[in-house]
Symmetry: C2
Subunit: 338 residues, 2 copies
């Protein structure tokens, strides 16, 4: 298996990306292709201890910055590490691609270069959701700001396959994010989606209220991409705000500093458990090719985790399973190719 990695995407590229890849090759059964400026990557690899033939370099001259316009940048920068990584998948030179770069450009590029799995209306960005219990997944978290009910039904199918075959959750419980537990609650989208999910071939357990999201009551949480993006970023912001307020409490006096020192290791664990970037990348489910997004602020460990999860995904043949599931359960949609 060969996985292409965009070595120039993300806040800590290329150093953290290279380091993460070096760590990953010793922990998973994949060859990696670092995509980006050859000279820089070769120099970085010189200092690392890499088994022969496990990490290759594929030159790409340009870099798409996080601040650039997505559609514009992929059109203009055909020789960027982000676009070239996707091309390697398209040409069959890589089985998957990982990038921590510009999310919008990566989504648009994946869509344009690789297209959709047959039958999938809307590919969905899918991320692991940190919870008090076992982590689940949530989708869509930003690929589709406006969705229709049928899109959410497909998200449920794809998310369940991912949860089962990559996260190892048997018979994953699928919940619909909604404001209220009763099926008549919600907006037009969630009300109609609830009805459709009742007869869909997934283990639908009903609505999940926002208050319960961090408690892991469902293994797969389904919502439109606007709401999903709000959810993951608000959890991140709330946790960070709370920890910053607690810092003030900790630094109040010598005594509180001492007490905080004792609790620090435990609290660090809590903090990292709430950090979804710890969990190794977000696949773009429904794209005809394996495309993983790592968090923009990924450090070497996050990149390593993303590469390892990507390898699991390829091994499990998730995309083939999605194709089969979607074609086995086709629902009518008045506006199919919108």
């Amino acid at each position: 298996m060969r996985i292409a990695v965009d070595a120039f995407g993300g806040d800590h590229a290329p150093e953290a990306i290279v380091k993460g890849c070096v760590q990953a090759v010793s922990e998973c059964n994949a060859e990696l292709i670092l995509v980006g400026k050859e000279q820089i990557l070769a120099a970085l690899l010189e200092h690392e201890d890499v088994p022969t033939g496990k990490i290759h370099i594929h030159h790409a001259e340009e870099v798409i910055e996080t601040s650039e316009s997505p559609v514009d940048s992929i059109r203009r920068k055909k020789d960027s590490s982000l676009v070239v990584g996707l091309e390697l998948v398209k040409n069959g030179e890589a089985d998957a691609v990982v990038s921590a770069g510009n999310t919008g450009a990566y989504l648009a590029g994946a869509f344009r270069t690789l297209g959709r799995v047959k039958g999938v209306k809307r590919p969905a960005l899918t991320t692991v959701l940190p919870t008090v219990g076992n982590p689940g997944v949530i989708l869509d978290v930003g690929a589709n700001a406006d969705c229709r009910p049928l899109h959410l039904v497909q998200f449920a199918q794809m998310g369940a396959i991912y949860a089962e075959h990559v996260l190892g959750i048997q018979h994953p419980r699928v919940g619909l994010l909604n404001i209220g537990a009763e099926e008549a609650k919600g907006n037009a989208l969630t009300k109609e989606t609830h009805q459709l999910l009742k007869s869909a071939p997934v283990n639908f357990i009903g609505n999940i209220e926002p208050r319960d999201v961090p408690y892991g009551l469902a293994d797969v949480i389904v919502c439109d991409g606007f709401t999903g993006n709000v959810v993951i970023k608000l959890i991140e912001g709330t946790a960070s705000a709370l920890f910053s307020m607690m810092k003030d409490v900790f630094y109040k006096s010598t005594l509180t500093k001492l007490a905080a020192g004792i609790l620090k290791p435990g609290l660090k664990t809590v903090k990292s458990r709430m950090d979804y970037s710890e969990y190794g990348g977000a696949p773009l489910l429904g794209i005809d090719g394996v495309v993983f997004k790592a968090h923009g602020s990924s450090d070497a460990k996050a990149i390593k985790n993303a590469v390892k999860t990507t390898a699991l995904y390829v091994e499990a043949g998730v995309n083939e399973k999605i194709k089969a599931a979607i074609s086995a359960y086709s629902t009518s949609d008045e506006d199919e190719d919108r």
Copy 2:
């Protein structure tokens, strides 16, 4: 000024409601009308030290439970404390009403009994948003699950008036909750709303990303009621999940218990700062009458805060200011009375 209080709404009714009212009368310049079963209320008041003529009782025989269907219950239970409280406002016997009862029933009842301020398309439930900095407000948080851009513009106007005249924030900064800082980001609703807000008579500062919501970058955050409800409940759930994980850290050993004991008072402050029920009730802005919702789990202190905020609202003449602002800035809407 006379404020009616639904004495039988909420998880801790009627005891906490009565206690909260007793505390409130000594701190604000209002007479209170406790609405509910007379005998029970009279017995509860007997143990309290109340200045003569400050707390009255208005009998109502029935109680609407939190679990009851909103529309059904207000239709069937005309002599419930919740409905009678609203009627007192309608008949001019009270200047405002406060309830911690069934939210759906209260909203439906307010709409039906009192109607909208002239020109307001959709009344919005508005709550104080706890942040690291100064608290702001967010609306709508649940009265309207589906909204159109014009509704959000009116929410911005109403929210700004409330922030200025009740919370005392000069020239309040209005932000649009959106997934991305750039104006082209978002779903169909937020993209169009952004354009409308640019020319609306409010201090519009642009999009607020979910990650920044707990940091108080805006004084008024505007969104549809589905998203707003997700936001307040997810902040609540995330904070509660974090504190429950931290409890495990605190109880790990004798040493950690000792350390936690030292930090406890400070951490309690953090917890209560993140709790929006601390901030005294959520007005239903745009209803032709002053209608405040207290959190269902309100204790006496929360009720006291809600009553005090309600008194401020009445004194400031917020509804008159809303009426004037809405009539001064009328925007066209193709589907006015939907």
